[in-house]
């Protein structure tokens, strides 16, 4: 018989980021693959143990939030749009660094650790802001 467990990175982290982004950026698709002219792609990166407790564990989760836009023109033409989106995500996470919607705990210490901007080497119309998100989740077992 299989043990009981919870898919923490999905239910507490990825689903939460998806909900936050969808609520804030209503018209921009959020998912796990590129879609349309602009979208957010969630890419789970790392799951690290912070502390082992007698009745649970504290872990740090890292997720790369990739904002991707598909538009002709160089970065000079598109930088305002790109940076606006990234800055808005940064503030969104700051405002929700401890996230417990309807008093249901999801994560705490959520933060954006870095943002890097890039143009796709093969397709210059694709521009990305790679937004590195981390948070802490305490799981009671």
């Amino acid at each position: 018989m299989a043990i009981s467990y919870i898919n923490i990175i999905k239910t507490n982290v990825l689903d939460s980021i998806e909900k936050l982004l969808e609520d804030e950026f209503g018209g921009i698709p959020v998912g796990y693959e590129a879609k349309g002219n602009e979208c957010f792609i969630l890419q789970p990166e790392e799951d690290t143990l912070v502390e082992l407790l007698s009745s649970g564990q504290v872990r740090s989760y890292s997720v790369l939030i990739i904002y991707e836009m598909n538009k002709a023109g160089n970065m000079e033409l598109n930088k305002d749009h790109m940076t606006n989106r990234a800055e808005r995500v940064k503030r969104l996470i700051y405002n929700n660094s401890a996230y417990s919607p309807s008093s249901a705990y999801k994560f705490h210490d959520g933060s954006i650790d870095s943002i890097t901007y890039e143009i796709d080497e093969d397709d210059p119309e694709l521009k990305r802001a790679n937004i590195a998100f981390t948070c802490i989740v305490t799981e009671a077992i």
Binding site: K71, A72, H81
Partner: protein
Amino acid sequence: MSTYEIAYSNTTTDLISVVPDLDVYDQKKLLTNWAVFTSNKYYTQSGFVSQLYMNGNELGSAQANLAALTENNEWFYDSGPDITYVYNSNNSPNEDRMEAGVDWETLKTRINNESAERIRSFVPFPIVSRKGVGTASASSRDYDWIIIKSNALLTCSSLVRPLNQELADELEKRAIDAETGLGLLDQLVAGKYRLWNQGERQEQLLPISTNGSTTGDIVDFRGTPTVDWDLIRIKINTTGTFTAGSASGVKFDSYVGDSTSLKISQVANAETIDGSFQNVGHGMSVRFSPGVYNSTSDEWQLEVSGMQDNPKIKTARLWR
């Protein structure tokens, strides 16, 4: 100007069967860098815009002029300087996903029609509809599957090409492949596939009605049709069980067409089924298998054609 020509594939299920997430390729372009024009009116250097979208939603028709922008989501495209204006009292359009494009349904319909036109230019023989009682395909469509599929493939190829050249090439090659000649239409033109109305495909035997307890069937037919085209109706006249080793009491009738209608002129009249090839008319014979023929409603249709649309080259040796 008008046209009687049509597309073979529809713009819904046929296209989705080729590219399930086709809507992603709706050929919209992102409009960014909106600036304030006057209070609640914003503008951007957009290039040509025939339809404006906000967060994926169509914003209706363009207003006639800039002064007409008085409500949220109203927009105007000024073709002179190529500028689009939009009215938004809630926030800057920079906060929304603003896109320019053409109406998705209109675009799909136009490209689908263009692809059908391309098929008509490529296939050197008529593509006729299968409308009529008992004429549609097994999937109840009015055109052959190969034509419908090719139309959908070419349409999807054109729709995805601006965003995914590789996929577009792959889809196009499934319909027309100049290098290998293995596209569906290449093979149709080469005679490897045949349309429903082409002579080589018309010698088809179809069960029209079979009683649930009937276990026998017409299992073979042969002959050289002595008619350009006809439908032969074969039906059970006297029910019973046809068993090897016992005299058969099962009988059948057959009917062919005449100058008044199809399946109307009787050829075989209460012929006893004996398991051999038995004449049903137009130089054709059928062979029944042993089994139960339980109803006088048991009926088959043999479509015959003495014509050949893709004659094969054969050789013959002569002596003198």
